[in-house]
Symmetry: C2
Subunit: 190 residues, 2 copies
C-alpha cells in the first residue's frame, strides 16, 4: 500500500510542478508563449505526460487560473482589513483588484477573459474564486441597499474588469485612469 501512496504523492507533486511552470511561463511571456512543448521541457518531462495529468491545455490553464484566484483573494482580503471600516474599504479593495490586474496582466487574462472549463457562480465553483467575490461583497456592503449587496458586488466587479481590460489592451488611454476610477467609485457609492 505504501508504495502506491508514494507514487500518488509523486504524481501530485509533479502536477503541482506543471501548474507552477505554466503560471511562471504565462506571467513571464504571455498565454501564447505557453505551448505544451515548452511547458514539458520546463518540467523536464515529455509532452504526453501533461496529458496524463490534464485533459488538455485548457485544463492546465484552468488550474493556473484557480491558483491565481487564491492570490487575488488574499490580496483583496488584506486590502479590506487595512482600510478603516466604512467608505474606505471600497477604494482600497478596488485599488487592490486593479493592481493585481496590472501586475499580472497575463495571469488576469487567463482568470477572467479566457473561456475555461470551470464552473462559475455555482456551488461547485472553486473556493478561491468564491472568496474573491466574497471580498467584493464585503467592500460594497456599507453602500448596498437591502438585498442588493450581491448584485452591487457583481456590478463593481464588472466595472473594474471593464476598466482594467479596456485600459490594458489599449482602448482607453492610461493617463486618465485615476480620474475614471475616482468618478466610478463616487457614483457607485451613491
Amino acid at each position: 500500500m505504501s508504495i502506491q501512496a508514494r507514487r500518488e504523492r509523486e504524481r501530485a507533486e509533479r502536477e503541482r510542478l506543471i501548474v507552477m511552470a505554466a503560471r511562471e511561463l504565462v506571467e513571464a511571456e504571455g498565454w501564447d508563449a505557453v505551448t505544451t512543448r515548452r511547458l514539458a521541457e520546463r518540467v523536464e518531462y515529455s509532452q504526453p505526460v501533461l496529458y496524463s495529468h490534464f485533459k488538455g491545455k485548457d485544463a492546465i490553464m484552468a488550474a493556473v487560473a484557480v491558483e491565481g484566484s487564491a492570490d487575488l483573494a488574499a490580496e483583496l482580503r488584506a486590502a479590506g482589513r487595512e482600510a478603516a471600516p466604512g467608505q474606505e474599504t471600497l477604494a482600497e479593495v478596488s485599488a487592490a483588484y486593479l493592481a493585481f490586474g496590472e501586475r499580472c496582466p497575463e495571469l488576469y487574462d487567463v482568470m477572467f477573459n479566457r473561456v475555461l472549463p470551470l464552473p462559475w457562480a455555482t456551488p461547485e465553483t472553486p473556493s478561491a474564486l468564491q472568496e474573491c467575490f466574497a471580498e467584493l461583497c464585503r467592500a460594497v456592503r456599507p453602500m448596498a441597499g437591502p438585498g442588493e449587496e450581491a448584485v452591487l458586488a457583481e456590478v463593481l466587479w464588472s466595472c473594474l474588469h471593464g476598466l482594467l481590460t479596456l485600459t490594458r489592451n489599449g482602448r482607453l488611454p492610461r493617463q486618465d485612469h485615476d480620474r475614471r476610477l475616482a468618478l466610478l467609485l463616487s457614483r457607485l457609492a451613491g
Copy 2:
C-alpha cells in the same frame, strides 16, 4: 491610365470581399474558425493573396473590427435618437450597446477584446470608432458634471464592457443581468 484604374478598382473590390468573408466567418463560427486557408477558400483565391492585401491575419481582423464599429455606431445613434431627450437616452444607448454585444459576440470580441494593430483614442483612430464613443458621450451628457463628460463616458463604456464580457464568458450568471444593468445605470446617473 484607365487600365490601372480598373485594376485598382478590382483590387479594392476584392479587399472588400475578403473583409466581408472574414466577418461572416467570425460571426458564424468564431475567431478560431477564421483561418487563412478557410478565408482564402471562401473568397476563391489562394492563401498568399490575402497577404498582398493585408500584412497578416491581425490586419484583416482589424479591418473587420472597424467595419463592425460602423454598425455599432449606427445602432447607438439610432437608439439615442429614439429616446426622449433626457434620462432615457442613457438606458436606451446602453441597451443598444449590450444588445449588439449579445447579438454578435464574436465580432464584439474582435472589436474590443483582442489586441489589434489599431490606434485607439488618438486623432488617427478610425472615425467609426470615434463615433461610437461620441454616442456614449451624448448619452451621459445630461448627468455629467462640468468637464467630466468624456471621463464619464469612458466609465460607462468600461462598465458595459465588463458586464458584457463577464456575462458572456460565463463568469456572471445571465439570470440577474437586468438587475445589474438597472442598478448600474441608476448609480451612474447619480
